[in-house]
């Protein structure tokens, strides 16, 4: 045992103990960098699977009338698109960033539980194989929306629903174990001198996110287990005829679901808080209030779930409480936005691609926040809810929110990971196609929702045609932009060019990761740093 420790601390051995060769390396790795790469690669593949489904949906919606997807197939596409993007793209990508960067940022040699880390990742391809295989089964794949309300998903759900439930269980276990790993690592393995308030803000954001995951993923597990019980074991949790309550499903689901959306965005906030100071060449404004705001958003996120259920027949008092609590979240979120703007104000700004995506996020996520504030007002929410206004809102906060932060992070850290700089010109093409495509796709959806177009419909009344066509064209432009990103990533990761970047890739960057070579050695911080 002590041999292993002195072995690991002996920097001389680094050169001789590189990674294993071939696919066994990736199957059995316990190295946080490799596992981070696995998560990110998986997420990128899923981005194109989910994106392809979105384009099928948008193509069908180009004109009223049935084009090539019948309503049953359409419902499966929208359901799978949502599940894949939420559980297969955003969450694994954020986990990949955590795996790569948290140990480097806190000066730790690896995550606290490296083998658990491997299992956390490898659950995912199997979970998604099960989920995607439902499309090949006889009978429909899940077709009840990514929110899978009962009794549509229980009493009336297709046979594939049970496979869906099991794949959700697997994804949940993966997330819980990963979150556990992150919490333990951050609590126990910060290098000497790195007190809580000296921790990089990205690490803070993942710490808070990990607690959210630990709290709510078990609730999702409970929810889908109750579904399984209702379907096969004669219970009536959500079946009114048996004395149960369909609305209970919504309570349990959204108790998970609302913190889930903060899980999807908080690490992204940490990324933006890292990228903007670097390229404004100015320290983050209000680090302390950023930390408190993050915690406040997470805590408030637990008491707002019923804002997804305002029209279910809730009593007046309950609606009031949830309206006020939901509106309150705007305060810490606004603090964050103002802090980012204040960081930029009187900085010395350069516009490399990571900064472009961070700026795109800043403007468009804020727009998504405004539509969120409008949605919080219960009377108006009666009109917005289940319309395209909601679809517009959550795509603004998830695509130009979460996804843009992930893209910013990859452009920011990929040069560190590979030692090679990506093509700035291609990065800019990617950015502008993404911004133009994204706005073309989702801005008109606000108008469609206000004009009365419901969501999750394969076919619509004639007055919605023009905007739907704009949305579809925008979606294809956005998709095209992501192909550029794919090209950039593949090019840099598989390039035969020798790494030529210095440690301090970006002049304004601060943090322990920028003291390491680009790319960093397979094992880092064998000698513990001090800050």
């Amino acid at each position: 045992m002590s041999d292993a420790i002195s072995h690991a601390l002996d920097a001389h051995h680094d050169d001789h103990h590189g990674p294993a060769k071939g696919f066994k390396r990736w199957l059995f790795t316990t190295n946080h960098k490799d596992i981070g790469t696995l998560y990110l690669t998986f997420s990128l593949v899923m981005l194109f699977v989910g994106g392809f489904m979105a384009l099928l949906v948008r193509t069908e919606l180009f004109e009223p009338g049935t084009a090539f997807l019948n309503p049953e197939q359409f419902n499966q596409m929208t359901t799978m698109h949502g599940l894949i993007m939420v559980f297969g793209v955003i969450m694994p990508a954020m986990a990949g960033l955590a795996n790569w960067m948290v140990p480097l940022m806190i000066g730790a040699p690896d995550m606290a539980l490296p083998r658990l880390n491997n299992w956390s990742f490898w659950l995912l391809p199997f979970a998604f194989s099960m989920l995607l295989s439902t499309m090949l089964m006889s009978g429909p794949a899940p077709d009840f929306g990514w929110t899978f309300y009962a009794p549509l998903s229980t009493t009336y759900g297709p046979k594939s629903t049970d496979f869906f439930i099991f794949s959700i269980h697997m994804m949940g276990v993966s997330s819980i174990m990963a979150a556990l790993n992150i919490v333990v690592t951050i609590f126990n393995m910060r290098c000497p001198g790195m007190t809580w308030m000296k921790m990089p803000i990205f690490v803070w954001s993942w710490l808070v996110t990990a607690f959210l995951l630990l709290a709510v993923m078990p609730v999702l597990a409970g929810c889908v287990t109750m579904m399984l019980m209702d379907r096969h074991f004669g219970t009536s949790f959500f079946n009114a005829a048996g004395g149960g309550d369909p609305v209970l499903f919504q309570h349990v689901f959204w108790f998970f679901g609302h913190p889930e959306v903060y899980i999807l965005i908080l690490p992204g906030f940490g990324v933006i808080s890292t990228v903007i100071p670097t390229f404004a060449h100015k320290k983050l404004f209000g680090y302390t209030s950023m930390v408190y705001a993050t915690v406040m958003i997470a805590v408030l996120g637990f008491v707002v779930w019923m804002h997804h259920m305002f029209v279910t027949g809730a009593p007046y008092g309950a609606q009031l409480f949830f309206m006020y609590a939901t509106m309150l979240v705007a305060v810490p979120t606004g603090i964050k936005v103002f802090n980012w703007v204040a960081t930029i104000f009187r900085g010395s700004i350069t516009f490399e691609t990571p900064m472009l995506f961070a700026l795109g996020f800043l403007v468009m996520f804020t727009l998504g926040g405004f539509s969120g504030l409008m949605l919080a007002l219960v009377p108006s929410d009666y009109q917005y809810r289940d319309s395209y206004f909601v679809v517009a809102h959550f795509h603004y906060v998830l695509v130009s929110g979460s996804l843009f932060t992930i893209l910013a992070a990859i452009y920011y850290w990929l040069p560190k990971w590979t030692g090679r700089m990506y093509s700035e010109r291609l990065g800019q093409w990617h950015f502008w196609l993404s911004v133009i495509g994204m706005n073309m796709t989702f801005l008109p959806m606000h108008f469609l929702g206000l004009a009365g177009m419901p969501r999750r419909i394969p076919d619509y009344a004639l007055q919605f045609t023009d905007f739907n066509q704009v949305c579809t064209i925008g979606a294809f432009i956005f998709g095209l932009g992501q192909l550029i990103f794919l090209y950039i990533v593949i090019k840099e990761c598989f390039s035969k060019r020798a790494p030529d970047l210095r440690d301090q890739v970006w002049e304004g960057a601060i943090g322990l990761e920028w003291t390491l070579p680009s790319p960093p050695p397979y094992h880092t911080f064998a000698v513990i740093p001090h800050v």
Binding site: P64, G65, T66, N70, P71, E72, N75, F144, Y149, P151, L152, Y156, A240, G244, P246, V247, H281, L284, F285, T288, S289, V311, T312, G313, L320, M323, V331, G334, V337, F338, V341, T343, R346, G347, S348, I349, T350, L359, V363, T366, L373, M374, L377, V378, P379, S380, Y382, D386, S387, F447, A451, G452, P454, I457, P458, Y460, A461, L462, Q463, F464
Partner: protein
Amino acid sequence: MYHRVSRLLLLLSASLTAASVYATPGINMPYGVTPISQQIYNLHMAAFWICCAIGVPTFGVLFYSLFKFRRSKGAVAAHFHEHIGIEIMWTVIPTLILVALAIPATIVLKNMHDTDESQLTIKITGFQWRWRYEYLDQGIAFFSNLSTPQAQINGLAPKDKWFLLEVDNPVVVPVNTKVRLLVTSDDVIHDWWVPELGVKQDAIPGFINENWVKITTPGVYRGQCGELCGVNHAFMPIVVEAVSQADFNKWVVAHQKVIPAATTQNTIIDTTQAPAALPATAS
């Protein structure tokens, strides 16, 4: 000055309302024909303008900074990274704005819940994939099915003006009458939504949800199911016809003749029910 501004806003918002006008894509919520729809519209516009009022200075400072403090133009970064005064200000002011928005929202919501003294009650039941309406005191009950022909949906016939927004048996109500709606479902969760009436309510099996409308202008108002309920979720629209009290009375008498005044679902002989015209189903 305040009066002029609010009238200007009203004119502006009136020009933005599109009462489901065919071929003109609406870009805003309809002002609508009920007191609630109008209160909701005003709240919505107030929230919208407040968001603009917050967004303009925020983005203004941002874009100004991106222009003015470019390194390429020689900007040198300042060194501040906190300012207690400003931070307090941008915490307190948004909180006050939120309170200002919450007050009218609270009041409008109270009005929405007030079903007292209604003069007519209609029970609305969602089915896969049609609505059933029962005028409990008049002894009338009927199904309301989508009446757009399948050929139009499949692109084999040109689509008519009210494609997917037309039914065989509309709901008929008298104007200026407070109508109580009791909403439930027979199978999965549906949702009864008519934008111009400012009303939406989930139809949940095993529950009866209560809501109300009072339509001030005669006309035809169309809506759709607002909760994913299976394959034909898009194909179970709602049509409400608001007519004069006299016309409503005639309609009641005519429908009562067709259907005996039985009160239980099982004994009502519903000759107005056409076989549900179900569009494309799973193969």
